[in-house]
Amino acid sequence: MSLPFLLEIGTEEIPDWMIVPALNNLQDMFQALLDQHVLGGRVTAVDATPRRLVLRAEGLLERQADVEELVLGPPKSAGSGAAAGFAKKMGTTADQLGTQSTAKGEYFSFAKRTQGQATAAVLAHELPNLILKIQWPKTMYWNGKGSERFIRPIRWLVALLGDAVVPFEISGVKSGKTTVGHRVLGKPSLAVTIENFDDELRTNGVILSANERRDKIESGIGALRVKPDPDLLHTLVYITEFPTPILGNFDRSYLELPQEVLVTVMRHHQKYLSVEDADGKLAPHFIAVMNTNTDPDGLVRHGNERVLRARFNDARFFWDQDQKKALTARLEDLKTVTFQAKLGSYYDKSKRIVDYVEGTDGSADAQRAACFCKCDLTTEMVKEFTDLQGVVGGLYARAQGESEEVAQAIYDHYRPLSMEDDLPRTEAGRIVSWADKWDTLVECFKVGMIPTGSKDPFALRRAAQGVVRLIVEGKVDFKFDFVDGPLREFMRDRVEYYFRDVRGFRYDEVRACMAISWDNLIELEERLEWLKAVRPTPDFEPIAASFKRIKNILKQAEYSDLSAYREDLLEAGPELDLYEEIVRTTSLPLESRIAALRPKVDLFFDKILVNDHRENIRRNRLALLQSLLTEFSEVADFSEIVTERQS
């Protein structure tokens, strides 16, 4: 008979963004537990609300199967005394023993039968550990020092195998068959079975399924045109147990404020979805998602409108206040704004950004944007709405009569914020963005603030990724020639990651091309494109294999100073043929040379023994191969290519 299983971990409100990874982790660990203990069954569903993680499994055995294993005892020659001792150890009598013949002779043996454990017992033993092993970004303790840690306090546990409770305890909470409803809409104590669990929760104000909560929000929004925002929707799904969207309004006069400001206030501070009119312009409405079923007296809507009004009033006040001092007059004020404790102020940083922009021949507009790009950090607007740094500077620059080019460059200069994010729209914007990020990298590495493992508090990986994209896709004219030390290694990894994981070049192609040089990313990109194009041609892989062979031969020969070969030492036949083909094809493009040289190289290795017993001949042949390798190594180190034969 197989049994269903249900686990619910009841907690106080878990941060929304941690829930899905934790569920996946729980699912994997539980399935591994079933497999490891041979309990049968598989996880069929996981789901969660902010207050509960739920896992369902089906097809569990009632108990593990019994296991029989053959245990060898002493040799038969040891006699009956030894046999009795062995039997005693096995918990049996000598007449139950068998014999087993092995290469070393006859041995006493016993077919030892281990009874399988009840599944409930195994789970009861394993579950506390498994639950406490769920990975969270940050955990807490709530019952005093040294007590169990979890993301938030565990307040109840439901664990049912069929109809029976799997009994265990975590931090004073005993598992049972009683769950808890919604804080306001449900009963605080609720007996459940595996069969009625979801329904009982539902009648107590909890929609367990995240998908269903999402659908409920979306259908509640109905035909309203909402600015698409999957991240915010995800958050709303996971901060509610019973989401209900409501429509609120704000005064049309606030639409005079920049849309960016309004949307940020609504999104980041209030978790409201923005509403658009038929033309895609921001409309004076918002959608808030409640964690309850109704707003009978309109109090929730009224309250949210009131909060938003205060927020918008603040924003308007900040805007007016900030206009009293021009962006360009704020440069001096940056002296009191810390960039990083060890790295001085944003004033210093601004100076350096300007230098970098000048150094890469940035336009006058780019230089002006660079100079004032950080000035918005002293504005009330950015102090309040940090996410709008850059954007606010750009808006103010425009309002204060700076050229569109300067305004846009300031506006965009934090971009790209992610791999998917767009680059700044203008050349000036891209140069300033690059200079800002590059400066951060250089300065942080200078004082040893280097990311390690998962620790990257200054988001240097993101900055470096931005730098790579700005050079390759944004055509910012910068090369890594003079970059060395840990920063060089760090950038190298980022370049490799970019071309491989973002651009989709094969890893061996990236390694082959980068082995030659990666100082100039534009040129690296061209070589990668070339290699990718030439790779499927029939002669390519064989010649790559030959190059690997050449490299090995040279390596084994351990010559470091192979001077030019002498033509007069070349022997007629495959050796001279190869030489002549090299000379003949010198001016041809590389892809044509590959086709021409491949049969000659093959023949050379077929017929010629490089390690000739005459030292001068041997040296000369090695030198020929070295020169061939060098000529081909302008594009890529072919020996890095993984060929068919190897894989």
Binding site: V184, Q270, T292, V300
Partner: protein
């Protein structure tokens, strides 16, 4: 809605509610602090093994937040109702929700959410895990399970609940400006506090004597260090920490602390705070 409780009635109700649940009702600490957490009733009492539950209103001074009384929602000095429950009871959230009902909030007609917000005060060597509590989109409380204070892991773990009283009462009374809150029937918040907001904003931003403040900072720091060398002078020493912390905030609002100085000054306050916490722990260990 506009028939909501007055400011002082709200305070009375909350104090009564927590008194009924076994809290000591304390009066505000009479040295300037930036938050209720800094009052010794929290900072020191959360340390060590003794259970302690307390509630008090703490005027909290943040010089840089002053707006000369012009801004309807921002204040140099606001009133926090601070509750410490040590150890945190298992039903602490239900107790908290009960307190909202006690001040007339019908939870069936409102929307309550607990949104992640971990609290940290590096100058106090303190941090905790918790939420901001949102009522119809308004942040009304900070709810924290203290994990560390003064650099010490806490055992038992206290829960700290803070109520932003001005916000909550403005909500209850449905007014858009804190200055329109009825403090008691017929008396507005404006009449009680506006002049204070204006004068202190002007003083904090424009007039405070920077040279004098630096001198005071040094003097209080020295006094704290001197007291920390003596047995059983923890509380007087802690007063000196609070003085330093407030003077630091004043210097900051005067724009008198440069980037390079800033970290150092914060470090000096932190060092004193950690020293006091260590002395308090030593004392409670000796008593045990």
């Amino acid at each position: 809605m506009s028939t909501g409780l007055t400011f002082q009635e709200t305070v009375f109700r909350l104090k009564q509610y927590w008194s009924d649940r076994g809290c000591i009702i304390q009066e505000p600490y009479d040295v300037e602090v930036g938050a209720g957490t800094m009052a010794p009733e929290t900072f020191l009492r959360v340390l060590g093994p003794d259970p302690y539950s307390v509630a008090y209103v703490q005027p909290s001074r943040r010089p840089a937040d002053g707006r000369y009384g012009d801004n309807p929602n921002r204040l140099y000095k606001h009133q926090q109702l601070q509750v410490i429950l040590k150890p945190a009871p298992a039903d602490v959230i239900d107790q908290y929700l009960g307190s909202l009902q006690a001040i007339g909030i019908d939870l069936k007609k409102h929307d309550i959410k607990f949104e992640e917000d971990n609290w940290e005060a590096p100058t106090l060597g303190a941090w905790g895990i918790g939420w901001q509590v949102m009522l119809d989109g308004l942040e009304i409380s900070q709810f924290t399970y203290f994990q560390q204070c003064g650099g010490f892991e806490l055992d038992p773990v206290p829960a700290e609940l803070t109520y932003g009283l001005e916000r909550i009462v403005a909500f209850l009374q449905n007014v858009d400006s804190v200055y329109d809150i009825e403090w008691t029937r017929g008396v507005k918040y404006r009449r009680v506090r506006l002049v204070e907001e204006y004068q202190f904003s002007k003083y904090n931003f424009e007039l405070a004597d920077v040279g004098m403040l630096w001198q005071l900072f040094d003097l209080h720091e020295k006094e704290c260090q001197r007291l920390l060398k003596m047995p059983d002078m923890v509380l007087p020493a802690y007063d000196q920490v609070l003085k330093c912390s407030h003077i630091f905030n004043l210097l900051d609002s005067r724009g008198a602390i440069s980037v390079t100085e800033r970290v150092g000054v914060i470090g000096r306050v932190r060092k004193l705070a950690l020293g006091v916490a260590a002395a308090w722990m030593k004392r409670s260990e000796a008593a045990a």
